[in-house]
Symmetry: D2
Subunit: 336 residues, 4 copies
């Protein structure tokens, strides 16, 4: 249930509505927009909306038939802009995240970070805990990987992002990482989402392999319902019958999400296609369609990469692409 | 089997190879490239490739393990450029096709054609025979629709395209239409494909609802095997679990097809998304990814359209989009 | 629109309703059930249902919100039973159809038909026109194949079924074949469906590769709207992400279809799984779930079969399975 | 790598091979079959198989090209039979699990358990922690639910199963529950799988919504690699384009899994179809296809159920079905 306050509603009146809602057993999430303050009443109880409409300063009460609440533009019409290390996602800004699939060694990260930093990249990616289909595949360096990531990033004044797989790993990630990634396979790991709702660092939430946009946004809703407002959505391809590409990048998810939600949406063309030579055209397509950012795999030596070398760009390919994307972004009125 | 001739092979030598192949019961498809003449030997018989390697002027004989032959870049490395009414598809050129879903009346077509023509559009679309899930839905005006389409197009010096559904309709289409469309539901109507292989007008072949790219290209192979080299592929969205959009536009099909095949690939963002406000971003994405053209639904009054009004652009929306696309095309080095 | 007549409505009253409907430009399809006569008014025009409610003998008029009309149990509550050569499909009866994927030679068909006939099979299958993904694959023997099929079937007092691919082939099929099959790729070849609606021989309509049950039933509706009431539906597996089996047999389609429609539904476990050793368990599953019949591929020598040998049963496997299925059918109260 | 010992290999020789493998940094999993002892060497290191072939008593060493190891029939040819409260799953035995979707109150569970117990059911299901798409949906009673489940089950001498969602919940489940369920959304929650590999209670692993059989078996491999050999696989329907049923029950997964793996596979027709009237035919289909058990939702009053009432059987429907299934099971030579 959303309570839209009159544009001239005083803070006192707003507070009275909040108190009333809480008394009824709901959580109140307040969002101050340009025109109106909107209060989201979140909870499992049933409440007669007429009880609220009678309160002073209330303009209207909207029963949500849509399953979305906090992620919705009805709740918050303005774009959420997330700022990490000076890089902005959302609200006319596109941000770039780049780096290798997996943290392998200090030297590997150092070489790659240096090259990316020289291109202007300010957020470094790299996996330390890896979700692998087989228990016998390399599972990542663990905390050691996070340490390397942090150390190298600090050297080049970069922020870092890495995938968290388990509730118990969260304290470790809070220590080392600036954006916590939730992988596609964990999109509906609701306990992980609940715990990440309680932290106050940005979370990048990947779309599940066969998830609908509604399911994906409902997972984001878990994060916001917990109180964490810094959520970046990441389209990374969905499973289809097409097998030449690893997945099918759903570019149309960009305008669809942007219409429903105020949250920024970035695109991962590397996992979506799984093919190095498809990363550039799909990056351009994403930006042309209005994506709020990209996350691209780059490896200084893809042939010897521990994992996903086939989809990693060479540093010089990345540098060239990044330049082209900046030109393209201007044409669609995005600041990249 | 492909026979690559030496670069200095005389016409006489080439003809001898062709004669030999035909004697063995194969069809010979000759393609003169910049450097080499390549002869495609197409047939069901088995032939010992060593027999051909011994002929004069033959550089090498390649047994095709890939299922593709004539649509493949191995057979014809250069882009096929298809020119309809001065509009080019392929080889660095992007072409525009626009018009309503269905031909309704002369006046409707006249108004729309006039507006599109003023924007610079030179190929008009409009359905006369409509494939409908229900036998009780409007099935199109039939020949009357084709007549209107032709008459209006001639008035504005436009070419026309419309969907052919059945072998027996082909003579009618040859009379009225410049590009014959094969709809998604007929992508594997092999008898229709065989018959369209025998005509000498361009065919626009839509991808089936759940077809893989390989299956789609094999359907194009039917057309080329019949002798029709003017085939335009059309990505129009595939069926996925996502239901906010009608289908999921597979933008990555653009670079995938362009790598395997010399045929041009255009994109239909109207059927792919089914939503008017998604047509513009997806058109931009397609062009940014390198599409060789677009086919867009425009109706002078979408609210009253007989079919698919929800996905039809208003003429002024189209005019604005077309301008933006021309700017975008330049950035990715396409002539639109 | 369905008009349910009172149980005591005279023939005269029924005829008056029919005349009224026709005058309004609708087709009338009459179905005499145990209790009530129901008249289906089929057409594109709009009619005020109150006009009909006022006619004598009319019990009620139901506006169909569901897209189905003639295939629906609302129109015809009793099971349609289709009888071919003494084999019944529907209404508590399960029928068996068996034979090779493709007619190869007279001897091949003669050996197979003899073995099947000895097992008690009375309907023989065999392809003469084959829908093939590649234009270079064997496309079937054509009319010669139909002739062999007919000749061999007559020798053993069997009926035959084979796939028709094109409107122009229908006269040929009417000459040789007892049940005309529509393949999965032609499920939405609406012109073919319209033409098959006009014949008066049973049609076996396969479900499309990615078709929903609703789309499939709407294709059956085309046949019934044309006047052909002898339609057998055939579930043959749908495309999913699972690749160990060729397709995924949707067994739940059996009770789903039987609830919505009066038409019989048979199952093709051979094409669904593509694997010989999965045909027996899936045949049993289909019968246990209430299937009205099976269509199974059997080849006297699968190793040398021209096509689909991997999914063809050996004759002795088939004989064993057929015995087991008869026992199983009794348990679920089906006569096989 | 699998080491097959000679049939007369002494325990001493077997132990020497185990010691050698461990020295090389691998885990050794020993499986004593009827004829041969097989040792699975599991680990990330590389080992020259010739080193092992030279050891005394070794018959052969097989390098696994398939991704499966411990779940495979190559490793353990005999069916794994899992016995819970006298109910057997696998090896010719089919087991029944039944109960409501969710534990609501003590009385609800008491009524249902009494009725099921009278039918002969010995394993009770009931959710306490519920994975819900929306953060605002009822999330289950938590530990209170597990307590009720245990108390009621003890009263009727039943065992219980319930879904565990998170690593930190495992100790709680070990206290109350006999079979720990992993839900479809957690099939690739690899940390959860690793932790459940370390316990010594049966785990019921549901197939993911869009998981391939190979991915599912690889998740089971995580459990076995951790040392837990009591794994029951559960097919519960996969996501397809068909929407009349909630999911599409992949019955063919039964024979496919049984060929590859020694683990028992049960079927959940309630979640697969989501429709009460489809549960009976699909249960029969599953048993006819050879399923090693069923898990069925039953509620004493489905109309008032907190969740999934639409797919829950009435107790009398269940009683009737259970009787029919026992007859059917005999026909396919299963003990139910």
């Amino acid at each position: 249930m959303l309570i839209v306050m009159q544009s001239n509603a005083t803070n006192e009146k707003i507070q009275k509505v909040i108190d009333f809602i809480k008394e009824k057993g709901f959580d109140a999430h307040v969002s101050k927009g340009a025109d109106h303050t909107v209060i989201g009443a979140v909870g499992r109880k049933v409440m007669d909306k007429r009880d609220i409409e009678l309160l002073d300063g209330v303009k209207e009460v909207i029963r949500i038939t849509s399953p979305y609440k906090l992620i919705s533009r009805v709740f918050k019409p303005e774009d959420t802009i997330i700022n990490v290390n000076g890089v902005k996602f959302g609200g006319g800004f596109s941000g770039m995240i780049a780096g290798p699939c997996t943290v392998e060694t200090y030297d590997q990260m150092d070489i790659t970070a240096k090259l990316l930093s020289e291109c202007g990249v300010k957020i470094l990616r790299g996996g330390a805990f890896k979700p692998r289909t087989s228990p016998y595949s390399f599972q990542g360096l663990g905390e050691e990987g996070l340490k390397i990531l942090r150390e190298v990033a600090d050297k080049y004044n970069m922020a870092v992002t890495s995938e968290v797989m388990e509730v118990s790993q969260i304290p470790l990630f809070l220590k080392y990482v600036d954006i916590l990634q939730v992988g596609a396979r964990n999109m509906q790991n609701f306990n992980l989402l609940k715990s990440l709702g309680e932290i106050r660092k940005p979370v990048l939430l990947k779309r599940g392999l066969s998830a609908t946009i509604e399911e994906w946004l409902m997972s984001a809703e878990y994060l916001l319902a917990g109180g964490n407002r810094e959520v970046i959505l990441c389209e990374r391809g969905i499973r289809t019958f097409e097998h030449i590409t690893r997945n099918t990048l759903d570019i149309s998810a960009i305008p669809v999400v942007q219409k429903i939600s105020h949250l920024p949406i970035v695109v991962d063309p590397s996992h979506a296609t799984g093919l190095r030579d498809k990363v550039a055209p799909m990056s351009k397509a994403a930006i042309a369609a209005g994506a709020d950012g990209l996350i691209i795999e780059v490896h200084h030596s893809p042939e010897t990469a521990v994992c996903d070398g086939a989809q990693s760009l060479y540093p010089e390919q990345f540098a060239e692409l990044y330049k082209e994307l900046k030109v393209l972004a201007k044409v669609v009125h995005k600041e990249f």
